[in-house]
């Protein structure tokens, strides 16, 4: 496949692996977190871990929008969809995400809720146009990458005079979550951060640019390398991180220069800031309440805000106490350290956030890499 295979070349990968092996100091450990689910998926899908030296370990971060959505927001969506006049449009991978009491959108649909799987924001607009008598709600989720399409969708709905269309907004922000991982009360309790650097987001950074990470690198003294989602991008980014650590640097570097600039996509940023504003705090599954990490619609667009339109209430639900997602997302524990992993918590019946989508740390480990756990246990 042209323009993709070039970034998956085995020979170049071997060469990079050799250089990483040669430059990584055998006397120390390198623990790098890849923030994005896309990176987690690439690592697992291509078996990247097998090509890294034993003292370079990847920690899978919380950058999977489906995984971090808390049960309370799923509950809200289910309650909304159960209202007879509502048609809820969602992305397919949200359907199985567990709310509280084991309910999901998939089970709500089986009980008669009008829930439609869509592939794009435009599908939802089309459904709203075709059913002017229904209250059509789009379940918006995702990081900075998916926020601009939601903004465009709201503009379009306004232009088309769609009176019974609204958005249940769950958009979240990457830098705030990275901040939370490095400086949360949990971390203070644990007393140390087990992360030596970050592989920074690919698609998110095409929108926000590399600049927003600079303050993080500076404040916490951690190197950040923005990387593309192809496996060779990852290998190169890991090498760049190893070099920064070896040289005692903590800078923001851009491996993904073919798509990312320092300032990002201004046009998209403007669209987003016209329509959305910061929430004081937003709950992340596995991380808890993270200040200034979520977006909501501005007052001027209240008619498109499902939370206002249907006076939706959020009731916080505690995560399963045995679930180690919080510690796993911070690199303190591995999936295999969690009692629930692979026993009661599997991709078919996920308990914690990391098991929900194939991009989650636990699901990726279970689906693609669990043979390594047995190797570990045998050893």
């Amino acid at each position: 496949m042209k323009y993709a295979d070039e970034f998956r070349d085995k020979t170049i990968a071997r060469g990079l692996a050799r250089v990483i092996g040669a430059e990584a100091d055998s006397q120390r450990k390198y623990r790098f977190m890849e923030f994005c689910g896309g990176h987690t998926h690439a690592i697992s899908r291509y078996g990247l871990e097998d090509m890294l030296p034993a003292n370079v370990r990847m920690i899978h971060g919380p950058g999977c929008p489906v995984c971090v959505l808390p049960a309370s927001r799923i509950d809200m969506a289910i309650r909304l969809a159960e209202q007879p006049e509502v048609t809820l449009c969602v992305y397919g991978d949200l359907m199985r995400v567990p709310g509280s009491q084991g309910k999901s959108l998939l089970s709500a649909k089986a009980f008669g809720a009008d829930i439609r799987m869509v592939y794009s924001t435009l599908d939802a607009i089309r459904i709203a146009e075709q059913a002017p008598n229904r209250e059509v709600v789009f379940f918006a989720i995702g990081f900075e990458t998916t926020t601009p399409p939601t903004a465009v969708m709201i503009r379009l709905a306004e232009k088309k005079w769609l009176k019974s269309f609204s958005v249940f907004c769950n958009h979240v922000l990457t830098p705030s979550a990275m901040h939370s991982i490095l400086e949360s009360p949990d971390i203070r309790n644990i007393g140390r951060v087990e992360i030596d650097g970050f592989v920074g987001p690919a698609h998110v950074s095409t929108i926000i640019g590399t600049e927003p990470y600079e303050v993080l690198a500076e404040q916490f003294g951690k190197p950040i390398v923005i990387a593309g989602f192809e496996p060779l991008d990852m290998m190169q980014a890991i090498l760049m991180l190893v070099r920064q650590v070896n040289e005692g640097r903590h800078e923001v570097e851009n491996q993904y220069s073919r798509a990312v600039t320092r300032k990002g996509n201004r046009r998209a940023q403007e669209e987003v800031s016209d329509i959305f504003e910061l929430r004081d705090q937003f709950e992340w599954r596995g991380l808890g309440l993270v200040p200034h990490s979520g977006l909501k619609l501005k007052q001027a667009y209240a008619q498109f805000d499902a939370e206002m339109r249907f006076t939706m209430h959020e009731v916080r639900v505690a995560d399963n106490p045995a679930c180690e997602c919080g510690a796993i997302l911070r690199g303190v524990k591995r999936p295999v350290d969690c009692k629930l992993f692979g026993t009661v918590c599997t991709p078919e019946i996920p308990i914690g956030s990391c098991m929900v989508s194939s991009e989650g740390a636990c699901a990726a480990q279970w689906t693609y890499g669990r043979f390594r756990d047995y190797r570990l246990r045998r050893a």
Binding site: R45, G47, R96
Partner: protein, 346 residues
């Protein structure tokens, strides 16, 4: 005196509830449309059952339901798919398929013209494969109670004495052979889904595999331990199934697995893994290592097996993992699909 009956208006007419009610309209639909398409001596006798002879050997029977959406896709339709799929399930046992039954659940309002196209392609697929659709059933349900048309089929065949293919016969060291490129059918269907439609030259691989199987059995005999056609859940589900049933693991080489560039690209776009995508004209055989090359050569000699490949081997593994060396140079598990990747693909 025979009562006058208006001819079926195939071009503009539609199925209504009377076509399932047991009266004249139903009789007319069956004789005018289905008998016409399937035409054989058993159907012509018009009994509620068909009596047939079978030769020596053990009988093989299978049953299958088809609820595909859309009904028409590049490379076939629900009718040809039902015939091919059922023939293949019989053939995977190493058997020679002989007879089929077909049961139709039709939604009120379904176009006669579409029904005729589908029935004709069933008849054509059956004739091409040398099998007969010898009995059937027709039901009509109210609008909204079924999505156009559902077809259920049963297939009967005979298995030569001495052949007994089954998953538990797989042994460590056995080779894994696949008859051609993976993921064509599922991708072709996806390309025609209303909310997804994309331009592609990908065509479903829907085909009857019994001739290919006959060549393989002639070449390999009982050194072919087990055969399956990787339909729903793709190669991944099929090999995990065999791993569980045989208590073995498998080790695959990603580079050896044939996937067409257009399929790989579509899967990339849709976030799918070709190893999870359905096939309708491919088979996987687990073959004793000493006979693997001979069976592979036999496969390559048949047009439906010209891209056949040896993609890996059975290994001892208490965890029954299907593992794969990736073309990038690492290792991974090839797991069952969790959840539903592509609803209603067959």
């Amino acid at each position: 005196m025979r009562a006058y009956q208006r001819k079926l208006d195939i071009k503009n007419g539609r199925v209504d509830l009377s076509h399932g009610a047991g009266g004249r309209a139903m009789a007319q639909l069956i004789s005018g449309l289905f008998h016409e398409a399937f035409g054989n001596e058993w159907l012509a006798r018009g009994n509620d059952q068909a009596a047939f002879d079978v030769g020596a050997g053990r009988m093989v029977m299978t049953t299958d339901g088809y609820v595909i959406s859309p009904l028409f896709f590049p490379g076939g339709n629900i009718g040809s798919l039902a015939v091919h799929g059922t023939i293949n399930d019989v053939a995977m046992g190493g058997a020679r398929p002989l007879y089929l039954s077909a049961s139709f659940i039709i939604e009120e309002g379904f176009r006669f013209s579409d029904l005729k196209t589908i029935a004709d392609s069933m008849g054509e697929a059956a004739r091409a494969a040398g099998v007969y659709i010898i009995t059937g059933d027709t039901k009509v349900v109210e609008r909204g109670k079924a999505d156009g048309l559902f077809i259920s089929t049963t297939g009967v065949g005979v298995l030569a004495d001495g052949l007994d293919l089954s998953a538990e016969k797989a042994r460590v060291g056995d080779r894994v052979l696949v008859s051609g490129s993976l993921g064509d059918h599922g991708t072709a269907i996806m390309s025609r889904r209303q909310n997804l439609a994309f331009e592609t030259e990908i065509v479903s691989d829907s085909a009857a595999l019994h001739d290919l199987v006959a060549l393989m059995v002639a070449a390999g005999g009982s050194s072919i331990r087990v055969m399956r056609d990787p339909t729903r859940g793709g190669l991944a589900a099929m090999l995990n199934e065999i791993a569980h049933q045989s208590g073995l693991g498998f080790h695959l080489q990603e580079e050896a697995i044939p996937v067409k560039p257009a399929v790989a690209a579509a899967c990339e776009l849709l976030g799918l893994d070709p190893l999870h995508v359905a096939n309708e004209g491919k088979l996987v055989a687990i073959v004793a290592p000493d006979m693997a090359d001979a069976v592979l050569a036999a496969m390559k000699a048949h047009p439906l097996g010209c891209d056949a490949a040896d993609i890996g081997e059975a290994v001892a593994d208490n965890h029954q993992f299907v593992q794969m060396s990736t073309s990038f140079g690492g290792g991974r598990i090839v797991d069952w699909l969790s959840g539903e990747q592509l609803p209603r693909i067959c």
